[in-house]
Subunit: 434 residues, 2 copies
C-alpha cells in the first residue's frame, strides 16, 4: 500500500509540546486575569451561516472567508474573528444573558489569506468585552485588565496608549476632512512603520494640503503636548476625558509610565466610536501592538434593534509568545511533570507505581518510564524532555528505603529517605522535589 | 436595513457562561491529571488535506466529513476525531518528538451526522495516548489516569472494565467465527443496551448456531467467572495478563471495586489489538461509557513505515458534564469572581478601583459594577450572576473605614474593617472573603 505523505496545509501549524506548553500557560494566565474581574467564558461554533459572517469585516475579509455548502445544502462559513460571533450571540441570547455582560472568548479563527510574513490561516484570538454599558468605569477597567495581563505574564516595560475616536473625528472635521476619515485613520495607523514624514507625504497623497497635513500631525503627535493655536472646546473636552481615564487607572495602582494619552492612535476599524487602545512592549516596539481594542456604541445592529454599546480588547497571543521567547520571559520546560522516575528493577513494578501515586497525591507530577531499560538510556530521555529531577531507585534503594534525587539541571545527586517517621513520604523527599 | 436573524446551525451550540464555566473546570481537571503523569499537550489544525482524513474512520465517517475546496483549489476537510490527526502528526514529526511520546489533545471535531438524540455536529474530544512502547506499564498507567480523572472530577462510584482483544479473537477462532469478527464485536458492543438475550438472538441472526452463541456468551459474560469446559491455554494466558494489569492498578492504591475484568468489552473499532477499556458510572450506567480506549499496535501505518504501537483513551466530556449535572457534582456558580463590589457613591470611584485592585492582588477576584445605580438594582444583578459576597461601601463606609460584607447565599451581613494595623487589607476582610 502506498503511504500518504503526512503534511499540513500551507498556513496551518502543528503545535508540538515545546510550543504548546507556553501557549497553554499564557492562555491560563489570561483566563485567570479575566476571571479576577468577573469576565465570563463563552464559546460559539466554528461554523456559522454564511450570511452571519459575510460583509462584516469588509471586502478583504469576505475574500478570506473559508466557505462552502454543507451536506444539507446550507451555505456555511468558518468564523474569521470572535467579534461577529459575539454580536450574533448577544443578539440571540440577550434575554438570558443579562446586562452588563462581561465575557471572554479564547478560540481559533480562520482566514484564507496569503500565508506570507509569518501570517497564518488558522490562529487563536483572545478577546474580552463588557457589553451593555456606556460607563467610563468599563473603559478604565479595560485598561486595567490589559495592564494586569501583561504584568501577570511577566512583562515589566510596556505602554498602553489611549485615544478617543471623537478627538480624531472632531479634528478631521475642523480641518475639513470628514469625508475622508477612513483613509486618514488608515494612514495614522501606519505611523509606527512609516514615521511622521511618511504620514505627511501619505496625507498629501490622499489630498491634504501640506499645511493641513502639518496641522493634523501637530495635533496627533504625542511629542507635542500642547500644540496651541486650535483651542476647540470639543477637542479640549475629549482630552480632559482621556486624562480622567488615565488618572483613574493610576489611582488603581498602575505606574504612570504604563499608560499614555496618544492622539495618533486610530485603530482603523470603522466600528470604534469611543476610547481606543494599543499596547506596545517598550523593548520590542517593532512587533506592533500586543493588545488593542476600544469602545463601540452598537455591537449587534445587524442582528437586533437593541442598542448594545460596549468596550473590549483583544490579546495578540502569537505576538506575545514571540515576545516572551525573545525577551526570555516565562519558564521554558519541555516536561509537564517535574519528576522523572526511571523503571529499571522489574521485580519492583508495584513499588514504582505506588510511589508515583503517592507523589501525585502530594501534588507532585511524576512520569514513570514504561520500559525496563538501562538507567543511562532512561536518563537520556529525561534530559531531553527537560525534567527537573530524576528519582532513582534500584534494588539497593528499595531495600534501604532511601532514594537518589538527581537534579537534572546541575547533575547533583543526594540521598533521601522515602518514608518519614509517620510512614508518609518523608518531608525531606517532598521538600527536595518542590 | 433588514435585520439578519441571529441563529446557529442545526447540530451546533453556543456555550453560555453557565455551560462554559463547568466545561472549563472539567478541562482544567483533565489537564491537571494528564500533566501529573507527564503527558504533553499538542494541537493540530482543524483543516487537513482531505486525503489525510478520508477512509480512516470507515464509510460512515467519510459521509459525515465536512469537506470542500479552499481558495487555492486544495481539497480540504475538517477533522472528525483526534486519532487520525495524531497519526499524521507523529508520522510527520517523529524525529523531533522522541519515543515514548505521551500526549494529550483537547480540541473540537466536526461530524455532519444527523443531529438527533442529543448528538452534535461539533463537539470536543479529550484524548491521551502513550506512543512508541508495548510495555504493560503504559496499559496500567492508562487505567490509573482514567481512575484519577474521575476521582478528581468528584465521582466516587465508577467501574473501569478491561478486556483484551486477543481474548475475543482467540475465542472466535475456537468457535469457528474468525471470519465474522467485526460483526460479532459490534453485537457485543451493544450488550448493555440489548441484554444477554438480545446478544444471543443477534448472534444467531448473523449465522451463529444457538449452541455456539450460548458458548460465546458464557465466555464473555462477566457473571460467569469460570465457565469451565474450554480450557484453552491461550485464553488462560490472556486472562492472566488482564488480572496482572488489575493487580498492578490495585497496588497503586485503586479500590478493588473500581476495576473489573469483563470479557464482553469489545470496542468495535478494528484499530484496537490489545487491552481495551470502558468506564461506567455506577449510578448512571445508562449514559454509557464515559472514558474508553485501548491498545493498538500500529498507529500511523498509513503515513509511515515506522511501526508505532500505543495505548490511550478518550474522555467523553459531554457525557461527563451531563452526569455531573445529574448527580450534582462540581460547584455550580454563574460568576467567575467571588466578590461583587457595587458602585453607588460616584465621588469615590478611585477608591472603589483601588480596593478592587488590592483584593485582586491578594488573589480575590472582584467585579466592580460599572454604572452608579441604586444599590438594590446592583444587588439584584449580583444575585442573578451568583456571586458569593457583596462588599458594600457607601459614603458612610468610606468615611468610617469599615465595609459591609453581605453573604449572597444566606443574606447575612457583617461589618469588617477595611485596613488592618499594618495598613494592608485587614485580615478579617481577607478571611471573610476566602
Amino acid at each position: 500500500m502506498a503511504l500518504i505523505e503526512p503534511r499540513t496545509l500551507k498556513g496551518f501549524r502543528d503545535y508540538l509540546p515545546e510550543q504548546m506548553i507556553p501557549r497553554e500557560a499564557l492562555i491560563d494566565t489570561a483566563r485567570r486575569v479575566f476571571r479576577s474581574y468577573g469576565f465570563l467564558p463563552i464559546d460559539t461554533p466554528a461554523l456559522e451561516y454564511e450570511e452571519i459572517l459575510t460583509g462584516k469585516g469588509g471586502e478583504e475579509t469576505d475574500k478570506q472567508l473559508y466557505r462552502f455548502e454543507d451536506q444539507g445544502g446550507r451555505k456555511v462559513a468558518m468564523r474569521f474573528d470572535l467579534t461577529v460571533p459575539l454580536a450574533r450571540f448577544v443578539a440571540q441570547h440577550s434575554g438570558e444573558l443579562g446586562l452588563p455582560f462581561k465575557r471572554y472568548h479564547i478560540a481559533t479563527v480562520w482566514r484564507g489569506e496569503s500565508p506570507q510574513r509569518g501570517r497564518y490561516r488558522e490562529f487563536m484570538q483572545c478577546d474580552f468585552d463588557t457589553i451593555g454599558t456606556e460607563s467610563v468605569v468599563s473603559d478604565i477597567e479595560t485598561v486595567l485588565v490589559i495592564h494586569d495581563l501583561l504584568r501577570a505574564i511577566g512583562f515589566e516595560k510596556f505602554t498602553i496608549r489611549i485615544n478617543h475616536r471623537q478627538y480624531l473625528m472632531i479634528l478631521l472635521e475642523i480641518l475639513g476632512f470628514s469625508s475622508q476619515q477612513t483613509e486618514v485613520l488608515r494612514v495614522l495607523d501606519k505611523r509606527d512603520k512609516i514615521g511622521v514624514e511618511g504620514v505627511r507625504s501619505a496625507l498629501t497623497e490622499i489630498g491634504f494640503a501640506e499645511e493641513k497635513a502639518r496641522e493634523l500631525i501637530l495635533h496627533v503627535d504625542a511629542a507635542s503636548i500642547d500644540p496651541g493655536g486650535m483651542k476647540d472646546p470639543r477637542l479640549e473636552l475629549q482630552k480632559r476625558r482621556l486624562h480622567e481615564v488615565r488618572e483613574a487607572v493610576l489611582a488603581a495602582g498602575v505606574h504612570k509610565d504604563r499608560v499614555r494619552v496618544d492622539h495618533s492612535i486610530a485603530r482603523g476599524l470603522d466600528y470604534y466610536t469611543g476610547i481606543v487602545f494599543e499596547t506596545q512592549l517598550d523593548d520590542l516596539a517593532g512587533i506592533g501592538s500586543v493588545c488593542s481594542g476600544g469602545r463601540y456604541d452598537n455591537l449587534a445592529n445587524l442582528y437586533t434593534k437593541e442598542k448594545l454599546p460596549g468596550v473590549g480588547a483583544s490579546l495578540g497571543l502569537d505576538r506575545l509568545l514571540a515576545a516572551m521567547e525573545e525577551l526570555g520571559i516565562g519558564e521554558k520546560r519541555g516536561s509537564t511533570a517535574p519528576v522523572f522516575l526511571p523503571y529499571f528493577d522489574e521485580g519492583h513494578l508495584a513499588d514504582y507505581l505506588r510511589l508515583a501515586a503517592r507523589l501525585r497525591a502530594a501534588g507532585i507530577g511524576v512520569e514513570l518510564y514504561p520500559d525496563c531499560k538501562k538507567l543511562g538510556a532512561q536518563l537520556k530521555y529525561a534530559d531531553r524532555r527537560g525534567f527537573r529531577f530524576a528519582l532513582v531507585l534500584g534494588e539497593d534503594e528499595w531495600k534501604s528505603g532511601r532514594c537518589q534525587i538527581k537534579d537534572l539541571g546541575t547533575g547533583a545527586t543526594r540521598s533521601v529517605a522515602l518514608d518519614g517517621a509517620s510512614g508518609a513520604l518523608s518531608p525531606d523527599l517532598l521538600a527536595a522535589l518542590r
